[in-house]
Amino acid sequence: MKKYIDQGKNDTRSGYGAAMTELGRTNPNVVALCADLVASLKIQPFIDENPDRFFQTGIAEANMMGIAAGLTIGGKIPFASTFANFATGRVYDQIRQSIAYSDKNVKICASHAGITLGEDGATHQILEDIGLMKMLPGMTVINPCDYNQTKAATLAIAEYEGPVYLRFGRPKVANFTPENQKFEIGKALMLNEGTDVTIVATGHLVWEALIAAEKLEEQGVSAEVINIHTIKPLDEEAVLKSVKKTGCIVTCEEHNYLGGLGESIARVLANQHPTPQEFIATQDTFGESGTPEQLMEKYGLNNKAIVEAVLKVMKRK
């Protein structure tokens, strides 16, 4: 199996912050907004270097989304950032009406998504945001897997015209994708070719999928691992091509199984190539306090759970 090396744990939100610093220097059209979470979103360097291009909205997320929509005039590219639950559920109507329906070039950049937010607990652990955002016509939904990829994705969406939801997280996680990679929106990445099962993963679960594939290899199972960083538009061809070879699939995400990546893939498979599928996702529950590792274990979101799901789905072929 192809080896992936953790270059040193880092948080995906810092990848966002680093890209914002770079965009501050390279793209004068980029402006940033934040609802009182500057430190958490790692954008202080952007603000220090571009004080005139940063707009603090205070704890008023609905207003931030509206202001971002208005700021698009004159070719500006607003990056509106806060925690994922405040960036989606709290302001759904603003995003729906003022950004998506109005086709505004706003980048909604959301940190602390999912269960790995950890200790702060259920109020802040949104597990519904992918579903909320992918249902909006015209919205692009991206969930990169590590620091390097989040940085690359942030740079890439500045070049893309249209509304984007960029989802990333709080904890320091393995950083294993190439530095200075080129990020192609909507293009799945083949991480390991295999023949017995397809594992597709998004966000923090990609690293867990790679560990699971290594463990499976020791058991004689050849797992194909695909990183789906863009949930919408979905790289349907990559998924179909893989399952036609392997005959079964496990989808992995830090999100409710309702409305997530797994459901998007199930739709494609049901339409075009019915395939046994298992879902690594939260089971329609809210979260709770704990360390990311404890919660990933409890909610069945780690490599151990993926291995079990693979063994189960292979029996259904």
């Binding site: 402006v31 005139d52 291009r53 707009f55 909205t57 205070g58 008023a60 609905a62 207003n63 989304m65 509206g66 202001i67 971002a68 929509a69 208005g70 700021l71 698009t72 005039i73 004159g74 500006k76 607003p78 109507d93 603003q94 729906r96 009406q97 003022s98 329906y101 109005s102």
Partner: protein, 274 residues
Amino acid sequence: MTVRELRLKSIFLRKQLLKYIYHAKAGHTGGSLSCTDILNVLYNKVLNVDPKNFKDPDRDRYIQSKGHSVEALYVTLADKGFFPEDDLETLCAYGSNYIGHPTKKVNGMEQNTGALGHGLPICVGEAIAAKLDEKNHRIFTLLGDGELPEGSNWEAFLAAAHYNLDNLYAILDYNKQQITGNNEDVMRIDSVKEKLQAFGWEVREVDGHNIEELIEALNNGPFKVGKPNFIIAHTIKGKGVSYMEGNLKWHHGVPSDEQYEMALNELNESQSLI
């Protein structure tokens, strides 16, 4: 355009919007009649917008937050030549671009609106953008009194003052009524002037059906350098058609043949007195 001509234009626009609501059998009649004079003055005396060059980056911006009163805006834009008036024969019909709330598919519309409490935050963004680009154009929005309880408006009131947006003009179509009843009974918003002053806005109060007062207020900003501008326009829902005035039934009401004729007769009579 003289004040007299503008008064005549208001009558014309009221007749037009009633005509298309009557034909479409749909529309927000009372609120459209309430803001007709405001839109008339904006488009014929205040806004720097050119139907032939609508995308001019230096144009003034008008975003109608109370999107449901779109019929008043449609007839005003048609009259200015943004699109052929005949297009409005498809108002609210299947396949038409002239739907029940503002849409950018229609030439002259800046923004899709309709869900309430959205217009002002967008205008705050546009006003910041204008300052950032060192542009001198102004940004106007029209708020309904019924939408003031939306919290996003109050978030935007704070932000507009925080960013010293003296290029921003929010006009309140203050007819004191909304779909369920009087503001007073649904949700009190009283002391609007004092509230907005406390939020850091410079406030003017006008009779929203008095052309001269509207011109005076809308053309003489900023009222104070560094402060956003708020214009309370006291209005009457259903203004110009006596049986509709202040009668909640006409929030979304469509006139019958007989009622339509009565309305036209009254407006024609008003026209003859100008």
